[in-house]
């Protein structure tokens, strides 16, 4: 039998990178061929943005600020939350497409090929993070178009904000991939990933935590969206960040590690 001998370590790593990028190309091709899912998920945050600014904006800002209605101030308040919500919304699509993908016979084919084992999952994760960032940029552009401006954020703060968004997208994506892998079908995957869209509604995205009823505050406070939103707010608008910076990073890293271990163990366990 003429099988090439196992390649040396550096060669193995470069082959693994090549397999991952092949799988990434496959996922991007899917996203490009069938953009409706991505666009549908993008609608939710954009609609919420327009709804909260133009319909509820005056009342909400009067309620929060204590003064008169101030719509532009409220735009500034909710945009950081909506950017993170956009990520939550995009990764619901990830859970659905991972679940769909696992029912395809081609996955069984990949498992019988001499390729890097994790490349299927890594391709999904990188593809989804890129999609999240694209969506965030699009929602951000809408926000700027209706009047959102950052208050003297430095280049470093912009970079940190971008880094936080990438980190957050990576964390939620790994969790969503795990949800997609354990769900028996695409509908179940969509339902299982729902909390990732709903959590921002229970955070400081739309109203400050101190304006919430006392019993509810712990729920809003001890979840990943609130510290991430507060950090993003601080970076873009110059509000106080406090502990939220490192809390957000810890949440992101924790969820990434958890999602990674969960997803890879699920994917590597015996298929039925």
């Amino acid at each position: 039998m003429s099988t090439p001998p196992a390649p040396a370590r550096p060669a193995r790593i470069s082959l693994a990178v090549r397999d991952c990028s092949t799988m990434l190309r496959r996922n991007l091709l899917h996203a490009r061929r069938y953009p409706s899912l991505t666009l549908n998920l993008l609608l939710t945050p954009i609609m919420l943005l327009l709804l909260f600014v133009y319909i509820f904006g005056d009342t909400m800002s009067a309620g929060i600020g204590g003064g008169g209605p101030n719509r532009s101030e409220y735009i500034a308040y909710i945009v950081p939350g909506l950017l993170l919500m956009t990520i939550g919304s995009t990764v619901v699509g990830t859970a659905v497409s991972v679940s769909n993908d696992m029912t395809e016979g081609v996955i069984a084919r990949f498992r019988t090929m001499a390729i890097h084992r994790g490349s299927v999952i890594v391709g999904h994760v990188i593809g989804s993070v890129l999609q999240s960032i694209t969506s965030v940029v699009l929602v951000g552009a809408v926000a700027v178009a209706i009047g959102f401006r950052s208050t003297d954020a430095t280049v470093l703060e912009w970079l940190a904000a971008f880094g936080l968004l990438v980190l957050f997208a990576t964390a939620l994506t790994w969790i969503a991939v795990g949800m997609g892998l354990v769900s028996p079908n695409a509908e179940a995957a969509g339902n299982n990933a729902m909390p990732l869209i709903l959590l921002p509604l229970l955070s400081s995205a739309f109203v400050p935590i101190h304006a919430m009823p006392g019993w509810f505050r712990p729920i809003a406070e001890y979840q990943p969206f609130t510290p991430a939103i507060e950090t993003l707010r601080g970076l873009l608008l110059g509000t106080g960040i406090g502990n939220n910076g490192w809390l957000a990073v810890v949440w992101c890293l924790g969820l990434t590690v958890l999602g990674y271990l969960w997803s890879t163990s699920k994917f590597n366990s015996d298929p039925k």
Partner: protein, 320 residues
Amino acid sequence: MTDLAIAANGLRKSYGDKTVLDGVDLAVPEGTIFSLLGPNGAGKTTAVKILSTLVPPDPASGRIRVGGHDLATDAQAVRAAIGVTGQFSAVDGLITGEENMLLMADLHHLSKREGRQVTAELLERFDLTEAAKKPASTYSGGMKRRLDIAMTLVGGPRIIFLDEPTTGLDPRSRHNMWQIIRELVTGGVTVFLTTQYLEEADELADRIAVLHDGEIAAQGTAEELKRIVPGGHVRLRFTDPAAYRSAASALRDASRDEESLALRIPSDGSQRELRSILDRLDSEGIEADELTVHTPDLDDVFFALTGGAGIPDQPKEAAR
């Protein structure tokens, strides 16, 4: 070449209490077509899944070598030597046939130029050039199966597993597939084929193993297996229960199927034997509503090997 492409000793697999494979020994020489024959649920697909590294065998199994590599310790080397076309099409339906092929070329680490060349050649060979730019999900069953095999061939595997490659295909596609499989071995490739049809194994395989309830019931060439089978049977069907009963008493060697009012008489289907059956019926003044001659098929192999018990009567493929 006398080397074995596949050598498995005591292959075992159970899911919970259910034993799917109960100590199966397989020896497939290089460059031959080997067919694992059996009905649904016999364990054929499980055997393919294990040999192609998809699922691990039970620890109680003996040594398993595929392509000269140990399945347990060197699965990745096994994967590099094999190609698998499963029972359910393993193509990516969302992308085009050509993109599916290029995806395989990338995963086999071919250069861009090589990848394009292999893709064009194989699409041409499997008559898919015209459909190359269409999404694979729009392909017919036969086209999907052809694309599936074309994808399997991209890396130039030495051993190819085909799990029921013709199930669900129309007769023309089935004959095309047979031709494709025959051509595969001319290049020295080993083919491990599973099928439910004796006819198919007979057409293609150098050696056949009959799998029944997770064990090999018989193994040999098609000729050797047919010797086990007592030459087929004649089936008589009645609509009148009285005619059925008198025919049953006239033909004592027939096995009865009370529910469908049918009799089954062992026969090689020769003119002489048919005449003798008809003469016996005529002399009793009985007229059957339907008479069919069955050549040996999988059912008969099973009746012979398992003492006539075990499998339900299925509609016959080879009725003439």
